[in-house]
Symmetry: C2
Subunit: 592 residues, 2 copies
């Protein structure tokens, strides 16, 4: 999108408007300083459009998590409002999301053991734990821990989870009963074995809905545009497809009495009324059992949210505070638990819709939440006859967008290690389940990273004649001197690469008979950890034992500051630490 | 030591002596090419001196592992010979070592549950597993995995293990009975509570031996030198102290019938004769239970061995092949298992003694092993009356050298993170035991490393007027241009620092209103992983949406090669990738 003249005005520097001080922890307050009628109208429109998308998704994701429909609606009312108060993103749409929903289902199947009451309680515990973990990370400023999840691992995980989710929804789409805690392979096997047991009416609802939604997503905007409707209006209209589909499905199911006549599974009675404060879950057992699952939900939810929030904010040149995001999402999840709702996060597609629809501030999110509250108050009675197969279709079409094999190929082409981690995560999720797949991917990415840095680039360099430039002797025609070894190390020195650097340096020395001086060029070294320092000290004393002097050149300021008190620096003395390679060479072989 | 003219001759380039080809996997063969009478005499002397040190240590470390004395002797015969054939170090003394011995004891207490037969079988299984793990790592060239253990963690572990070992030996030194699987705190508590139960005769043997050995180590060489004995001879004589002490202790204990009269615990009958091939352990159960302990023994044993081997080899300008070392130590451990012995590794102090005594090749190790074999054949009958307290004293004095708190202070001064990892490992070993302590240290070092690299140094730079040098705007008086942002990134870009780099770059852009061009200076970036590439692509498209162009400057060759096919590179085009910052500035604001 283009940079509009209005954008910069959206980004007030609070110091420039010192009317009243806004608490730093309430970013919405600062946003409202510049709020006016135009902005309000934009927020009203965007919030309404997002609500149209959210209501069917809220019902669907509750179904995906194995929870009653109202739990999804509750998660779309209080938590987004809490986030709106504390979050630093102006357009992030917080609420139930597909990946967190399926992680809830995975965690609760063994926990609840088939007891629906325990299942709902477990969801509230998960939301509370997720909130406390995020809040704790935010307060302790430990957001960097979430950087353990690399993009390829996240991408592999998302694709794997999406396929996994589609697998779980095939049962609801077709009416074939499936064991609740079946993994992906089991789901597919059961479906194929019991294909004949499919409920024809359920399948009709489900597959029709999938086709309609897929067409609406792919072709409706274009068709509307062909009918002379402006592209922006067309986009808004096509986003109404799920809600219209739900309405039509309810009408058809009610008219045909599909539930009674053909045994089509429907949503059933959804209690009306707003969420109420519920703290009974605090007395429930099993918090410790659910902790690992909550940690992964927190991690994935945060990483997804922050990446969307950053991308959208940057498009309008706004700032995101990652630690405040942790706290805001943490509070939103604690609020979810207290309001009887499932864990929440910032949804990718809903946030995009909200942004594209023109949301300027979190007032849009409050508008969305108000619409959901209204629906919960007034229209839940209508939902009883809604076939679950239609909700399953909404899930399948929504998560189908997350399946991205092109990215896997792309990553593999760019970097074999990252590609392997991505593929392992994807396969791991499908073969061993959501949590173990993610753990496998994170561990593999870490090991591969260490492998990569364990073999740093070490170049023996010489001088390009007539210049002060020093280059790799294997790539350039350069001057060298038999009694002088110039080695450039192109990586920070730390424990994982210390053994190899030590071996390589030793071998370089052993291979040269006439050496009197070795110069290590540290222009590419931003730090040296204690392991590497010890190695360098040993290297220096090993050289000294052989009558060879060690020199350092082009040491960066921070590295030099820290080396100052070390035995290495004391052993070398100031006259063997050279500002530039050229000066070192001049001193050692005479100026040219 | 000085570089002697003979040293280079010790290091034959096989290609220069093409008499017969030596198999690459048998380094000893190449060593023998240049073998002569002088070298043989040197090896004979060094091997004999090392044997004098080794025999008492072999008995002591078997006791430390909770195994019969002969198991220590067996570990000093066949395994060093196998290592001598395959190892690339000429002076590494392989055999039983203190830290591996205590790890064997820790692993076997729960495994054997008090059954001495199962205990010995367990030791053989541990040796076999250790060997297979090392061999596997060597064949798959996975030696870099051992780099996970940083120097500070290894140092903290060694000090912790040494204190732990001293704690376990206090019982044998004093005759106070101690539960076998007591941890450090329990050992100390039991000792203090039962001080009155100490056996006076045992304590007399033990404490006298400790004092004599400590004095011999500290003062004997000086005293001998005062008596007019040449320093080198004095050093050799003082190394005989443990063996002399053992002989005197046996004589005193036999003469006074200490075992019968005062209940002094003695070594008891040690079966004579050479080790025989024993493969019964292959049928035993519990291999999987012992696997984690074997992995840690393999890891620690290898890391210790390779660091000693490298240090000693480099002093004589010889090369060590880390992968071949893995295979050689692996084969030595497999041989240990087949010969009824405990796991082995390269010992630090014994290797130093061997080197200082003038060992030139692994023939010295074969000489040492021959002496031990002779002792096992002829003199085991004499050992029955040796008080165990004397062996405990040998252990205590040997491991006392490993306690190094000065290094902890040193590390802490240099780097808080490394110091914390070292302290955590030390405390972890004492509080939670050998294995868990090590695991805690390795995990903490890894997390701290990620923390460190998660916040790379990013500098906004400007030009020092009249030069082509670009420096940090906060440290130097430099030229800047309002429409141009020059940012230098001083670290490789990978998943753990990608989120922070993204945030910082976005914030730098958001803070500048008149920007038209952003130049990323990548002189300090040796690679960009897939996460960082995706971030840069998103950053570029975010900038483009705001009408700002992204440029790269000083991209290293390997990075540029890999970027070539990426969307980033395609989006920028060749004219936005600049060779130097100066050229980029000239193009963007005009040449000066």
């Amino acid at each position: 999108m283009d940079r509009t003249p209005g954008t910069t005005a959206d980004h007030p520097a609070p110091a420039a408007h010192p009317r009243r001080k806004c608490p730093r922890l309430l970013p919405l307050c600062a946003e409202l300083r510049q709020y006016d009628r135009t902005t309000l109208l934009q927020d009203l429109l965007a919030g309404t459009i997002t609500a149209i998308l959210l209501v069917p998704q809220a019902l669907a994701y509750a179904l995906l998590a194995g929870l009653p429909a109202e739990v999804g609606l509750y998660a779309s009312i209080i938590p987004p409002i809490v986030y709106a108060l504390f979050g630093t993103s102006r357009t992030l749409a917080v609420g139930p999301v597909a990946v967190a929903a399926v992680m809830v289902a995975t965690a609760l199947s063994p926990y609840a053991g088939g007891d629906p009451g325990a299942y709902v309680t477990g969801a509230l515990i998960l939301a509370a734990l997720t909130g406390v973990i995020l809040l704790g990370l935010g307060l302790l400023r430990l957001g960097w821990l979430t950087a353990f999840i690399s993009h390829p691992v996240l991408s592999g995980f998302t694709t794997g989870a999406a396929i996994f989710i589609i697998g779980t929804q095939l049962a609801a789409l077709t009416g074939i009963p499936l064991p609740r805690d079946a993994d992906f392979a089991q789901s597919i096997a059961v479906l194929i074995a019991h294909l004949a047991a499919a409920n024809p009416a359920t399948s009709a609802f489900g597959l029709t809905a999938v086709v309609v939604l897929a067409l609406a997503r792919g072709h409706l905007p274009r068709a509307l545009s062909a009918l002379g409707i402006a592209p922006q209006k067309g986009a808004i209209l096509s986003r109404m497809a799920p809600l219209v589909l739900v309405a039509i499905a309810i009408a058809v199911a009610t008219q045909t009495a599909a539930a009674q006549r053909w045994g089509v599974a429907t949503v059933g009675t959804v209690p009306g009324g707003l969420p109420r404060l519920q703290l009974d879950f605090l007395q429930a057992k099993g918090w410790l059992d659910l902790l690992p699952a909550a940690a992964l939900i927190a991690l994935i939810g945060y990483v997804e949210s922050i990446s969307v929030a950053k991308a959208l904010a940057f498009r309008r040149r706004e700032k995101i505070d990652p630690d405040q995001e942790l706290r805001a999402l943490g509070l939103a999840n604690v609020a979810a638990a207290c309001a009887g709702a499932m864990p929440v996060a910032g949804g990718f597609s809903r946030s995009m819709v909200n942004f594209d629809a023109g949301a300027r501030t979190q007032i849009a999110a409050i508008v969305t939440a108000s619409w959901v509250a209204l629906a919960t108050l007034a229209f839940t009675g209508l939902l009883a006859d809604l076939p679950k197969a239609v909700l399953a279709a909404i899930i399948v079409v929504a998560v189908w967008q997350l399946v991205d094999f092109a990215n896997l190929r792309h990553t593999w082409t760019y970097d074999r290690g990252d590609g392997a981690a991505q593929a392992a995560t994807l396969v791991g999720v499908l073969a061993f389940g959501i949590e173990r797949g993610l753990t496998i991917g994170v561990a593999l990415a870490l090991v591969l990273f260490l492998y990569r840095t364990s073999r740093p680039h070490i170049a023996v360099v010489g001088r390009i004649p007539g210049t002060e430039h020093f280059r790799n002797i294997h790539r350039h025609l350069v001057e060298t001197w038999p009694r002088l070894l110039l080695v450039r190390i192109d990586e920070n020195l730390y424990f994982a690469n210390t053994p190899r650097v030590e071996s390589e340096l030793q071998n370089l020395v052993v291979d040269r008979d006439q050496l009197t001086d070795v110069v290590l060029i540290l222009s590419g070294v931003a730090y040296i950890d204690a392991s590497a320092l010890e190695m360098l000290e040993n290297f220096a004393s090993g050289l000294a034992a052989a009558g060879i002097r060690l020199h350092l050149a082009e040491v960066k300021g921070p590295v030099l500051d820290r080396l100052r008190d070390s035995a290495l620096s004391a052993g070398l003395g100031a006259d063997r630490i050279h500002i530039s390679t050229q000066l070192a060479v001049n001193r050692l072989v005479g100026a040219t």
